[in-house]
Amino acid sequence: MASYERTFCLQVPSSTENLALIREFVAAIGEQAGFSENETARLALAVDEACTNVIEHAYENEATHEVTVRVTVDEDEIVFEVIDRGKGFDPTQAPVLPVEELIRQRRSGGLGLRLIRSIMDDVQYRIVPGEKNELKMIKKRRAGGAGGADAARPAQG
């Protein structure tokens, strides 16, 4: 069973130009791993959000750095690791304001982390600023998936 595990890795320059490629990468793997089209679209969104944050915040829009996305698929779950060597941050300090509040403040930001958290079953950071920052996002498969499995259809619950 352990032999089912498969690993994929994509490394691209830290430019928003490459977000489309990153999404296609995730979509191809999600589809291959048996996730539905809607689930796969959400996985691609979460990874897009994580990579956008790396490009815009960790690297402050300097396109000369690199973003790495590692994906591991096994019979239970799909795991995404987004890795950068940028400035890092303290995720416990990142504000999660209600959307109404963001609108009142005319703030366009603050939605990315919320989307990541609602899409994924588990989100972990390992931050060593300037050295290696890792965001690990885990999505359980629907069948075995206890927590947060997103049943688009009633399914075998």
Binding site: L19, R42, T52, I103, S108, G109, S118
Partner: protein, 121 residues
């Protein structure tokens, strides 16, 4: 490839319809932001964003709606959304957008929801 994004604007009576196509992400959102900002600056505050051909939206795209919705409403208008594909709608839904924005199944329905939109042509 179909990695592109494009915008088309036209009048629908007194309402301005902005059709967005393709992939709206952090790379393409600035284009959309410029167009909406320009409409509002020009005093056109009754906006319908036609999402028929919108294939993808990330928070960068959603942020454009959030940035300008208050300004449009304070000017007596609104930014209404129309014809969102289910795949894209699920993203708006996750964030609670349907409670905050007026989202209609078709451009015609969205246009009709502006007071007096039916008067002129």
């Amino acid at each position: 490839m179909t990695r592109s994004f494009s915008i088309e604007t036209k009048n629908h009576g007194p309402v301005r319809v902005i059709a967005i196509r393709g992939y709206l992400d952090a790379h393409t959102a600035p284009q959309f932001e410029n167009v909406v900002a320009e409409e509002l600056r020009a005093g056109r505050c009754r906006l319908v964003v036609d999402c028929t051909d919108l294939d993808y939206i990330s928070s960068a795209g959603l942020g454009v709606f959030m940035t300008f919705i208050d300004e449009a409403r304070q000017a007596g208008g609104d930014i209404k959304l129309a014809a969102i594909q289910p795949k894209v709608y699920q993203i708006f839904d996750v964030l609670g957008f349907p409670a905050l924005f007026d989202i209609q199944p078709s451009v015609e329905q969205a246009v009709a929801r502006f007071d007096g939109a039916a008067e002129k042509d």
